[in-house]
């Protein structure tokens, strides 16, 4: 069976998709080198640069968050594969070209971390002032070795807002690490996707199954179970997240729901409704929310639920204006 995707030669997928992306937002972003996206209008000189890296195939993530108030640049790899370290080094060099400092935000996945580390070592050899933060909020893994999921978007947001305000690299790093420490994510999948380069399904799943704890590329989770209703699914996932983060009544949360690709926004609304009801019953305040598709996995069905404990400073940074192609705050 041919895969049912509108693509051309799979070999050219990433350059073509990034070309399309830049053509769609010509006044906001530019393509640099091989598959690095930067802002069309760079941030004022001297301000900290916020950079990320990661595989492609998750659109709008990660490059869709390059823009005022968020990222300065994003180094894209192949479909589901980290970019080569060389490109990351080049991006850091460009970010720091005017003597600026940079914060590199990396999702904890083997290839991404390797590329980030190698680039950081090279950057240090070259005397660049760069710090790196790893996002690892997926509670399906053991603490200390968890995957990075949609929470990176919140880290981009608060670190990006701090950098835009002119904060120092240490402050940006502290804010990013605080957001990272404060957040937890759990994913659920109900239907697989086809890898656009290989044409193969990225995992197998029965007709009446769902899996809690699924990773972002079909990495197996731990909770395969019978398909549940929206309410049941919301309850199971929220309970696990609240317990892991140790949320107490009276605390204030940011909640993000991230559709995997084929799960309708309609379904996310139903899940969100139940989350809001449950939080209210527990006297936990739903302070802010974001609902939509931020980091997708092709046409996989499922979603990620992220919660984060907010404090006044993080809330102010979350609320600050942003103008990336796929994340805007007025």
């Amino acid at each position: 069976m041919r895969m049912k995707k509108f693509i051309n030669d799979p070999k050219n997928l990433v350059p073509e998709l990034l070309e399309g992306f830049t053509l769609a937002f010509p006044d906001r972003i530019r393509l640099r080198g091989t598959n690095t996206i930067v802002r069309a209008t760079p941030k004022e000189p001297g301000k900290v640069r916020v950079v990320t890296l990661g595989g492609s195939g998750h659109e709008p993530g990660l490059s869709g968050f390059v823009g005022k108030g968020m990222l300065d640049s994003s180094v894209a790899g192949e479909i589901f594969a980290a970019p080569g370290a060389v490109k990351v080094i080049e991006a850091l060099r460009e970010a720091c070209a005017g003597g600026e400092r940079a914060l590199l935000i990396v999702l904890n996945h083997a290839g991404d971390v390797l590329a980030g580390n190698i680039a950081m070592q090279a950057a240090e050899r070259e005397g660049l002032k760069v710090k790196m933060v790893l996002t690892q909020e997926d509670i399906s893994g053991e603490p200390g070795d968890r995957r990075g999921l949609v929470g990176c978007v919140a880290v981009y947001k608060v670190a990006g807002a701090a950098a835009e305000k002119g904060a120092s690299l240490d402050t940006c790093l502290e804010v990013a690490e605080r957001m990272e420490r404060n957040m937890r994510t759990l994913a659920v999948a109900v239907r697989t996707a086809t890898h656009p380069a290989t044409g193969q399904p990225i995992f197998e799943m029965g007709d009446d199954e769902m899996e809690i704890g699924m990773g972002q590329h079909g990495e197996a989770g731990t909770g395969r179970m019978q398909l549940k209703t929206a309410n049941e699914t919301a309850e199971i996932m929220l309970e696990k997240l609240l317990a892991d983060l140790g949320v107490q009544p009276g605390e204030e949360l940011l909640v993000m729901l991230n559709g995997a690709g084929a799960t309708a926004l309609m379904e996310l609304y139903l899940i969100f409704r139940r989350v809001a009801q449950l939080l209210e019953a527990k006297k936990i305040r739903l302070l802010r929310s974001a609902i939509g598709e931020f980091i997708t996995t092709q046409e996989q069905a499922g979603f990620q639920m992220m919660i984060a404990r907010m404090d006044p400073e993080l809330t102010e940074l979350w609320d600050a204006p942003a103008d990336a192609p796929f994340f805007a705050k007025l």
């Binding site: 192949e78 080569g84 083997a110 580390n117 990225i202 990495e219 989770g221």
Partner: protein, 203 residues
Amino acid sequence: MFAEAAKQIRREHESLSRLDCIAGDGDHGTTMLRTVEKLEGTMETSSAKTLNEILREAGWAVLGVDGGASTAILGSFIAGMGEADIGEESDCKHLAASFEAGLRALLKQTKAKPGDKTMMDALVPAVQAFASAASSGKSVSEAMKEAAAAARAGADSTRDMIARYGRAKFLGEKTRGSPDPGATSIALFFRGFSDALTQMKEA
């Protein structure tokens, strides 16, 4: 050297991707294919003179490939080899030192050790076999033959292991029963090196 490694990868890339499907994301074969193509291209146009320069250039070429975990590991290893003082290729002891420098460079990038079902399961025994052959005075081509055999044995031994690094680690017990794709690629690389040296000797 790299041309013969490329031959091996070209022949096996589909089965490498299939191996990566079992516990990973199914792209290891195509990644390795892109890697050896990049290596060949780099070698063709390279103006590097010394073996050190060549290895550093080759290593950074691999580090330039969007390949996820495997190219970062392989690239770091090759670039790390270039950091040691190698001298002439035919000098078996220098080459052994270079391999060991590659391994040392890797320790900065990954905590994976033999037994964790990664490329290290092929790489570490291959380097050890080469070094002990070198210290017992064997020729480069003989030492490489032993390294290739050790890499193959190491790759085969991953079949019964549980993955503790990379994408596969989350699958736990389920990863038992098939060899690690990355380790298999390393075995193919050493097989290619050994073939190249044998051909050179025969020629």
